[in-house]
Amino acid sequence: MAGQRILVIDDEEDIREVAQVSLEAVGGYEVLTAASGREGLETARAEQPDAILLDWMMPDMDGPATFEELRGDATIRDIPVVMLTAKVQAADRRRLAELGVSAVLPKPFEPMKLAEQVADALGWDA
């Protein structure tokens, strides 16, 4: 759905930028970005986005840790999370599924398809 706000948390600036352009231009979403887990949590609390795109491998606080914090905080617990990661091992995906992540998208992603994939994963009408 257009107009939804997505928070992109990734430590790589370029990736944030590409993701932003992709989601905004192709999906018509409003995109917020954060460069770290901590920053992401703050932003999430403040902005209450409709979804979070979360990178797995980040220094300091990585994806799963950030996710855990997210779930631990009542104010932002219910925001659906899509994990972005190069890890595509089934075991890892299972682990994520059990943690409660809504979907896992591989990196590199298809910039033209990203918005669609996110919508599919979250059950939004594209």
Partner: protein, 897 residues
Amino acid sequence: MIGSTLRGRSLTLRVVGATAVVVALLLTAFAVFLNANERVRESELLVQRSTEAVSGAVELKARTVQLQNAVRALTLVDDGAFSADYREARRSLARGMDELQRAEEADGGRGGAEEEEDGEASIAVALEAIRAYSDRLAPLQLRAVRAGASQRREATLVREGRRRVRVAVGRLNFFVDEEGEEVAQRRAQARASAFRLEAVGAGALGSSVFLVILAALYMARSVIGPIRRVAEGARHLAAGDLSTRVPERATGEPKQLAEAFNAMAASLQLSDDRLREKHLELKRVFSRQHLILNSAGDGIYGLDRDGTIRFANPAAGQATGNEVDELLGRTAHDALHPRDEDGVPHDVEGCPITAALRDGQAHQVLEDVYERRDGTRFPVEYTATPIEEDGEVSGAVVVFKDITERREIDRMKDEFTSVVSHELRTPLTSIRGSLGLLAGGVLGPLPEKAQRMLDIAVSNTDRLVRLINDILDIERMESGRVTMQRQEIAVLEVMRGAMESVGAMAAGVGVRLEVEPIEARVWADPDRLTQMLTNLLSNAIKFSPPGATVSTTARRSGEEILFAVADEGRGIPEDKLETIFERFQQVDASDSRDKGGTGLGLAICRSIVEQHGGRIWAESAPDEGATFVVSLPALVEDEPPSSDNGTGPAVLVCDDDPSVRRVVAGLLAQRGYRTVPARSGAEAVELAARERPDVILLDLLMPDMSGWATAAALKERPETREIPIVVASVLPAEEGHPVPGTEERIEKPFDEASLFEALERALAVHGDVSKVLVVEDDLDLGRVLTEIFERRGLTVAHAQSGRAAIRESQRLEPDLLILDLGLPDGDGFSVVDWLREHERLGAVPIVVYTARDLTDAERARLGPDTDVFLKGALSPDEFAGRVLDLVGRLSPRLVEA
């Protein structure tokens, strides 16, 4: 021969000889002695005889004289007395003569002949003379006298007589003298003989003694000497000097002894030398072995039959922080295998070392943990090989390796791969992203050439991404670090999944996809299998001309399932059928560029297939298309069908582990429950909606759709929302995330009792409610409630006190209890307490109402399963309505009624 015999037996001979000599000597001496003795006796006898003869002669002389006298006397006086004397004298003379005669005759052969004759002659003469006188002259004389013969005659006669007598006496005297001489002689002889005898005796004795001494000396020299020398030699030998030899001086037996001794000593020395040599060799071998063992980097220790460490090499000691001595004498289990985290001691029975000792087979353990002396642990890989002696297991050798480093390296490799993968993909993400956006026209249209360039960039970026994925994939698979998550999967699902992922691609090039699956299952990693099929399909599509068909089939062939992906492309030449499965191999070099392949697709497929214990190959001929065949071991279908035999409740058992399903089905069947097996969350949801089981047994940790997701899905669908769920998971209830919408939970592994308790509790809550017990002391309210329930078609009983309630509940066995806590005497609570204790009735749901708020303690006492609400200011109808609502929630069937 005699000579040698003599020599050989010389000692014996000599001994015998010497003895013979001594004996001979003694015998001779004895003989001589006897002889001498004889002589002496002879002499004595002779002397005696002579003496007798002498005395006889003297006597005769006397008697002759006596006769003469008698005759004279008689001649003078012819008296009777004198006559008697004369006769007597004559008689005694006659006697005497006889005696003497006899003695002479008896005494034959004595002394010298001359002497004999003289003596004899003398006697004879004497005797004759005497006889002449006695027999003739004397009587004549007498007669003459008597007759008065002339004096002359008488005188002649007398003269004759006297002459005769004189002769006789003379002769007798001569005889006596002779005899005396002889006697003296004899005596002298006898003395001489005696002397000789003594001399001989002394001589014999002396020489015997001498000989004995000689013999003794000889013995000492020839026998005892050698014996002593041999004894001494033996002592030296015993003391260790094996070069001892004994001189072989003697002859005969002592020499033999010496020779024998020397031979023995020589033999001993030889043996000893040989032994020394062997010992040296052994030492050499041992030290070599020792060297090897000591130099070995792996820890090696040897156990005896009981598992006690008898030997350990330095590496073993070092690795475990022990001195080698400290390991000896302890069992391996004791010294090296630690207790596990819970303090449970090492399972000796199940230990592969015990197994090796028991069954005589080598056992290899790829991962285990040893404990060092200081308590720290390290991972090991070890092999236990039994030692066999004479067909029996006498011990074992364990070779172990500290794999901390290897694990570390593996971990680093994994980490590296992971990091590399991340590091490569990160910039690629940006590149692909930005290029993709540009090429996608998101940021505005582009001149044709620019578009073309960007398209190239994007497609190659894609290719690079695929390449990285494939390389990392195959690298991980072939180093064995990727564990396949194998499970039971339906062939159909895998094929469908693969079809879906290439659907768009196929459509894009106008290739038709056909699929012919079968109902079969394989034990495989679904992602990998799908990946493999997808790979094959995309290859097939790539190499198919537009309008062609790519067909995917599966069929059962004996114990295997054969998947086949067939295309109608240009085929593969025979010499390439094998090589295409290698890395970066394409049939045609130009293919890489044209078709966008990475060259690793088939290599990955092969890796996956081989990891599943299957085979993959290609069948093709140029211009006749190609068929890639994969064979995998089929899974034997041994799932028990959902049993309809039971008359009991139907249980939907949802677990991805077939063995759990089997076991539970078995348990349920025993108690008359019906089983509806579901292999996955998705299947469970479907089946639940279709079959409407009475209760669902749900596993949590399942692939694809987890227990939580399944529960959520079930609760979402109206058809399945109300079905009670019992969660069965290895996750303990406190820690494992709660599963919303489920009431019961049991921990795996569970026992029969817990399973059925939970099932019954779950069923009880949501089973048919047909009997209700109302416990209310207020008669009116009680009647109202009773009516309300009866209107709904329920059987109702009304109890007005705690005691009555207890009695009634036992009689009625209600499915639901409605209780006024405000019963007099606090009975309400006691009823609840009592019910809770009751085995069967404890499961009955209780709806409790109270006029006042409950304290926390009271609430706790009632337990979490009890529904409580305030009677408060509700009218009976409202109250009933509330109760019904509650009841309705608990029993959907009631609501429907």
